[in-house]
């Protein structure tokens, strides 16, 4: 099958290796790295401060109340885990389908998945009234003799989150082993020892490659299922309760589509950021960006369909509470969140119908940013407008996030960036051997 030239014509194996492995040694790139780090570290401080206060005083430092007893924390966890989804999807689904163009993107997309899922996993623990007891969710035969409550979507959420983080970690790490061996071979001293240990004695023999391939595809198959199950689980956390605006069967696919949509948006932003800052343009090409732009448009349209279907069914149900929640969403106290979500999610991506904007880094980056923000507002709309007015008017109450919630959110952004920068500095951001594979395939 004739393939489009996705990588520039004058690439060879040595260049690929150098482009990825020598990032750390380039003085210009190092300065940029430190600048990014300097920007992110204050946010990490904000993260530590807001978490510390939360542990010291309790969840009351947030703006949550009865009835809106889930606020920014749950919004953020849904948002972060949604972002994580694109990484796994790119890595596993496209690997299984043999789409070679993924090879320039999968490594950093997987890193993004891992770090985003970690941030997502932090929030449900931080939001607990007694966070030190989060492990009671584990199905372990504890001394209490009490198991988790298996009817609860939250119990399954916990299981799927933990599996997701572990499988993502395994996938990322296993996928990196051949490249870690490359780094081992190019480094000296302590770094050589560390990379050597991480490379698990990889020598590139045919047997190694065969075993590796089995393992990698096996994990990919498992990871792909998790893309569906994790966000379906998150969706069930809402759909499980008899709350107007939540209690609907469309939620699992609705959430998965939205998650992948936001994930692609962040992948686009990271891809553009990496290729600009770390001079990876020869590996992450305009052609890659073009494909990502199309995917963003496609998943965006699917998400739009989910919105419309959700609204239609709320109306079609004839249930007065469902209809009132629908009207609250488009015209109530928090209508701004719904309309911001719709505008940001589906406005900018309409440009991506055309080839020129798809090949413009600036347009693509802004479209990605727009969608990433829009999907956050969508989660705000779903969580808050579901809870602030449910059935009895006597129980209605509004919610406003406090400074500490915003700081915590910004703080997790900082932690994410710091983790990503550390990854960019010490580990191969682009899969060296898979890009070479792609070069080889092209001949």
């Amino acid at each position: 099958m004739a393939r489009h030239p996705i990588l520039p014509p004058r690439q060879d194996y040595a260049m690929v290796t150098a482009e990825v492995a020598d990032v750390a040694h380039n003085p210009v790139i190092r300065r940029r790295w430190w600048l990014a780090m300097a920007a992110a570290v204050p946010l990490v401080v904000a993260f530590l401060a807001s978490t510390g206060l939360l542990f010291w005083l309790g969840t009351g430092v947030w703006g949550i109340n009865i009835p809106v007893n889930w606020g920014l924390a749950i919004i953020n966890t849904v948002w972060w885990v949604g972002i994580g989804h694109a990484g796994t999807l790119i890595s596993s689904l496209l690997l299984l389908m043999g789409e070679g163009w993924r090879n320039s993107l999968n490594r950093f997309a997987e890193a993004m998945t891992l770090f985003a899922a970690t941030m997502a996993g932090l929030f449900p623990i931080l939001h607990l009234g007694r966070p030190e007891l989060f492990y009671w969710n584990f199905p372990i035969p504890s001394t209490f003799g009490v198991w988790p409550q298996f009817r609860s979507p939250l119990a399954w959420d916990f299981f799927s989150f933990v599996s997701y983080v572990l499988v993502s970690l395994a996938f990322w790490y296993v996928g990196m082993i051949p490249d870690l061996a490359t780094l081992r071979d190019r480094s000296t001293g302590a770094a050589k020892a560390v990379y050597g240990a991480l490379a698990l004695g990889w020598r590139g023999s045919a047997v190694h490659w065969a075993r590796w391939r089995q393992a990698y595809l096996g994990i990919a198959a498992a990871a792909f299922h998790l893309v569906i199950s994790v966000h379906s689980g998150v969706a069930m956390l809402f759909a499980g309760g008899p709350i107007p605006g939540w209690h609907t069967t469309i939620f699992p696919p609705y959430f998965v589509l939205g998650a992948v949509f936001s994930g692609f948006a962040v992948v686009i932003m990271l891809a553009i950021g990496l290729r600009t800052a770390f001079r990876l343009a020869p590996l992450i090409t305009m052609r890659h960006l073009d494909i990502l732009g199309r995917l963003l448009l496609a998943t965006g349209l699917l998400t739009l369909y989910a919105y419309l279907a959700d609204a239609f069914h709320a109306w079609y149900s004839g249930d007065s509470y469902e209809i009132r929640t629908l009207l609250d969403r488009v015209g109530g106290e928090y209508a701004w969140s719904a309309w911001t979500a719709v505008t940001l999610n589906f406005g900018a991506i309409q440009l991506l119908w055309w080839r020129r904007p798809r090949r413009s880094q600036a347009v693509l980056f802004l479209a990605g940013l727009s969608v990433a923000a829009g999907m956050w507002f969508e989660r705000y709309m779903l969580v808050v407008s579901g809870l602030y007015r449910d059935y009895l008017p006597s129980a209605w109450h509004t919610y406003d996030a406090t400074l500490w919630e915003w700081l915590l959110f910004a703080g997790t952004g900082g932690v994410f960036v710091v983790l990503f920068l550390l990854f960019a500095r010490w580990l191969p951001m682009v899969s060296i051997f898979e890009v070479k594979e792609e070069l080889e395939r092209r001949g």
Partner: protein, 895 residues
């Protein structure tokens, strides 16, 4: 109940217990401790650790008894229940009585006599010549207090009465109609029609419990019609079928129109069509129900209108049947209605040598035009005895901390006259003094013991043999044969024309606050955080205005307005209240305290606009916006049904969706609750009872404003499109198919073997999924360590049978599971079944209208099971398939 002797020894025993406990704690701390300590080997008689002792006594409200049974744990009073043996209380209480234990342990109570000690005080008061002494009290029903006051008066002292929410108008009307002071009792239970002109019969007050019970009985047995004309929405107006909002100055015309239709005098012109229609309908209803109706007129109207109502009731034949006059229960002072004014005038004239203010705060509560403060400072010796070192205490030379009713030996009479001997459950906690001992000291008997003084009062009445009879009345909590004697009086036929105020400007309407009353409960956090029945506001008083007026002046809820009347101004946050007459502003007494106020309490001092001559209505007022705005904390920001009338009524098709989960099996008990919305008057007694029973913390105004109040039981108030008001108490529904149980990931809320939706605090990790899933939003969450921010002294207030909840834990109504288990254990120990009605939840027990019925649904003969068969029975949000255990009987609406 224990024998009465133990009640007397209760305080002594408590000391022994504490000593013993302290010793137990010290054992093993060294030789000295083990040598000097007393082992807790001999259990004091009458005290079983873990089993509360109960004492019959009474709390005081405006001088009247509120008879109770008080629960004591190891010498600590923790909870009060209405005394079922009292013909007045019949086991019920109001919200204030439920808060009495919190007052006992209030951290702001004054701690010490000042400026000297008790001996110094007795020396000073004994030096006062009786002729120059004035004594100021609130309403007095206590026979012992009356006896002491009589003795002092005989010696030359003078006694005056000041009650901010007083009965002066009623006394004046009684003199006008009957020539002397009598009490008027309404037998609402026998009524087919109740016509009310600005009289909050069912609202808070010393007689609320009996009136609400009477009203509920009437509603149960027939469908009495309640017609109310009033300027501002009251509890009574809220449950009326036919309510007319009219400014106070027009109400006398309405009373005269009713009287005229019934053949008493002529009506005056000037009524609107709506007013004419209302008056004709009221007169017709009274006329066709002779002896089965009541016309009652409230204190805000002139005494002439009240007297005219007496004449109407007599003319229609109600007197003696639904309206009964008795000899007054409260002692009438020498100067009658002008008692307080006489004192102030004498003080201002400098003719008072010494004044003893016994349990009152007149510097704060006196009408502004009397200028009590300036008069008081002219008195050479000023003595104040009270629970708090308040505004009056600050101006006095001496302040004596006064004993709380739970520390007191005295006697009180309920509004029907039945007397209760008030016996202490605990020694005065903060070194307080008992009132009879203070008066005895004034009389020169400084060593007298309150118990002896009270016994001396009753010795002639009870007769011989005194000791067993005394023990018996202490045990029962009621002295038989003390009910007020019926007074054979005839209303004078003399025509009574009421003065009509001129109609310029806005009319100010003064009302006692529904939760802090005249300000006496302002230091009590429980009552500050108790949502006001009609606004659900906490920690604040507002100036209520009509929604139309608010719209016309562009005033939003919480906008600060300046109100001017009679040359004085105050500023107050405005609030638009449905049902408010258009040209009136309601001001609530009780806020704006200068001393012993709680941080966070807002409001304003309405007394600064109050005049002695017209304490309830003041015309010619002006109102303007100041541009300022304050945040008000209401527990229910939305008080309109928004078209969801189906929430409060049975639906034609309660289509219950099927459930995936199998039905539960209840082999033994299936506890359930039915709440009759037709009987609920929103009085809040259940809410405070629940708070006292279940150790519910106070969270403060800012937390309430954020929607974090902790009350397990709330009473929703709704206005519908027809202008009607609805109350709906909402406890946990204990659903059969509980969404919360399905949502919790760690099994912290589970279905109990008897259908209780149980909350396992120590398993809860605080995901709050249960609350997100709860369609009724009855769950409450500890967003902070609320238990830790309660006053230290409130530790003694806690019910030892109920867990104090930790930070980060969900909580909610348990159906008072501790009471259920106690009843089950006792029944098992005694090898008998748990009898229906042998115990109930705290809310049901306090409810004066008995609107809440709790029991075993498995028992086909239980009341709760029977009520479930009522055609009015419905489950809230039945279409969700939650199958709630708490269900409702719909309100009956006459069309």
């Amino acid at each position: 109940m224990p024998a009465t002797g133990e009640a007397m020894n209760g305080t002594v025993s408590r000391r022994a217990v504490l000593k013993g406990l302290a010793a137990a704690g010290l054992a093993g701390c060294g030789d000295e401790a083990s040598r000097l300590s007393i082992p807790y080997a001999d259990q004091p008689e009458g005290i079983t650790p873990g089993v509360p002792a109960w004492y019959a006594t009474a709390m005081e409200f405006q001088g009247y008894a509120q008879p109770v049974l008080a629960e004591s744990h190891m010498g600590r009073p923790t909870k009060l229940e209405g005394n079922p043996d009292s013909p007045w209380a019949r086991g019920a209480t109001d919200a204030f009585t439920q808060a009495a234990c919190a007052i006992l342990y209030d951290p702001q109570r004054s701690l010490a006599i000042r400026p000297g000690d008790w001996a110094g005080f007795t020396r000073v008061v004994m030096g006062v010549p009786a002729g120059g002494l004035r004594i100021l009290t609130g309403t007095v029903t206590s026979p012992t207090l009356a006896r002491q006051l009589a003795a002092l008066t005989e010696a030359g002292a003078r006694w005056h009465v000041h009650e901010p929410v007083g009965r002066e108008t009623m006394m004046r009307a009684s003199r006008l109609a009957f020539g002397r002071v009598v009490d008027t009792h309404l037998l609402l239970e026998s009524c087919r029609v109740v016509v009310v002109v600005d009289d909050d019969l069912l609202g808070p007050g010393p007689d609320q419990v009996r009136r609400v019970r009477g009203w509920a009985e009437a509603r149960r047995h027939g469908q009495p019609r309640l017609m109310v004309a009033e300027p501002t929405l009251s509890t009574t107006g809220a449950v009326a079928q036919d309510r007319l909002a009219v400014a106070g100055r027009r109400l006398p015309l309405l009373v005269e129109a009713i009287a005229a239709e019934l053949g008493l005098g002529a009506r005056r012109p000037g009524l609107t069509e709506a007013e004419k229609d209302w008056a004709s309908a009221a007169a017709l209803a009274l006329g066709v129900n002779p002896g089965r109706g009541v016309l009652t007129v409230g204190a805000p109207l002139p005494a002439e209108s009240l007297a005219l109502a007496h004449a109407v009731n007599q003319a229609v034949g109600n007197t003696g049947r639904t309206v009964v006059h008795t000899e007054p229960v409260a002692v009438v002072p020498r100067d009658g209605e002008d008692s307080f004014r006489a004192l102030v005038e004498d003080m201002a004239a400098g003719s008072v040598e010494a004044v003893l203010i016994l349990d009152g705060n007149p510097v704060y509560t006196a009408p502004a035009d009397l200028d009590f403060r300036s008069a008081l400072v002219r008195v050479p010796l000023k003595i104040h005895a009270g629970l708090f070192d308040d505004e009056t205490a600050a101006l006095c030379d001496w302040h004596v901390p006064l004993a709380h009713a739970l520390e007191e030996w005295t006697d009180l009479r309920a509004p029907d006259g039945t007397a209760t001997i008030v016996q202490p459950l605990i020694d005065p906690v903060f070194g307080a003094r008992r009132r009879h001992e203070i008066l005895a000291a004034v009389m020169g008997e400084s060593g007298a013991e309150a118990r002896r003084i009270v016994m001396d009062t009753w010795r002639p009445f009870l007769g011989e043999p005194f000791e067993p009879l005394w023990r018996r009345v202490l045990h029962e909590g009621v002295v038989p044969g003390t009910e007020a004697q019926v007074a054979r009086v005839t209303a004078s036929a003399r025509r009574l024309a009421s003065p009509i105020a001129d109609a310029d400007g806005l009319e100010l309407v003064f009302r006692p606050d529904p939760t802090v009353w005249d300000g006496r409960y302002a230091p009590i956090a429980w009552l500050q955080e108790l949502p006001k029945p009609l606004t659900k506001l906490t920690w604040d008083a507002v100036a209520a205005i009509a929604p139309m007026l608010a719209a016309r002046l562009g005033i939003a809820d919480g906008d600060v307005v300046e109100i001017a009347a009679a040359g004085r101004t105050i500023t107050a946050p405005a609030w638009s209240l449905p049902g408010q007459a258009g040209d009136t502003v309601t001001l609530f007494l009780g806020y704006g305290r200068q001393r012993v106020a709680l941080p966070g309490a807002g409001g304003y001092d309405a007394y600064r606009l109050r005049l002695a001559d017209s304490p309830w209505v003041l015309g010619g007022a002006g109102l303007r916006r100041t541009g300022a705005h304050v945040e008000l904390a209401t527990t229910q920001p939305h008080r309109h049904l928004h078209g969801h009338e189906e929430l409060l009524s049975p639906q034609p098709e309660p289509a219950e969706p099927p459930s995936l989960y199998p039905d539960w099996d209840y082999p033994r008990f299936a506890w359930g609750m039915v709440i009759d919305l037709d009987l609920c008057v929103g009085c809040n007694a259940c809410v405070v009872a629940c708070q006292a029973e279940n150790n519910i913390p106070v969270v403060g105004k800012s937390e309430v404003a954020r929607g974090r109040e902790m009350h397990w039981l709330r009473v929703d108030v709704y206005h519908d499109d027809d202008g009607a008001t609805h109350f709906a108490p909402i406890p946990c529904m204990h659903c059969e198919k509980a969404p919360c149980e399905m949502g919790c990931p760690v099994n912290a809320t589970v279905h109990g073997p008897d259908g209780l939706n149980q909350m396992i605090y120590n398993r809860c990790i605080g995901t709050r999924t249960c609350s997100s899933y709860c369609p009724y939003k009855v769950r409450r969450f500890n967003f902070f360590d609320y238990a830790a921010i309660q006053p230290d002294t409130h530790r003694y207030l806690r019910n030892p049978d109920v867990t104090v909840r930790a930070n980060g834990v969900m909580e909610k109504c348990t159906y008072c599971v501790q009471r259920i288990r106690r009843a089950q254990i006792e029944a098992r120990a005694e090898e008998r079944p748990v009898a229906d009605g042998s115990f109930t939840t705290a809310c049901a027990q306090a409810c004066p209208s008995r609107a809440i019925v709790f029991g075993d649904l498995n028992d086909p003969r239980s009341r709760v099971a029977a009520l479930r068969g009522d055609p009015r029975h419905f489950a809230m949000l039945a279409h969700l398939g939650t199958r709630p255990r708490t269900t409702y009987l719909a309100r009956i609406r006459e069309s």
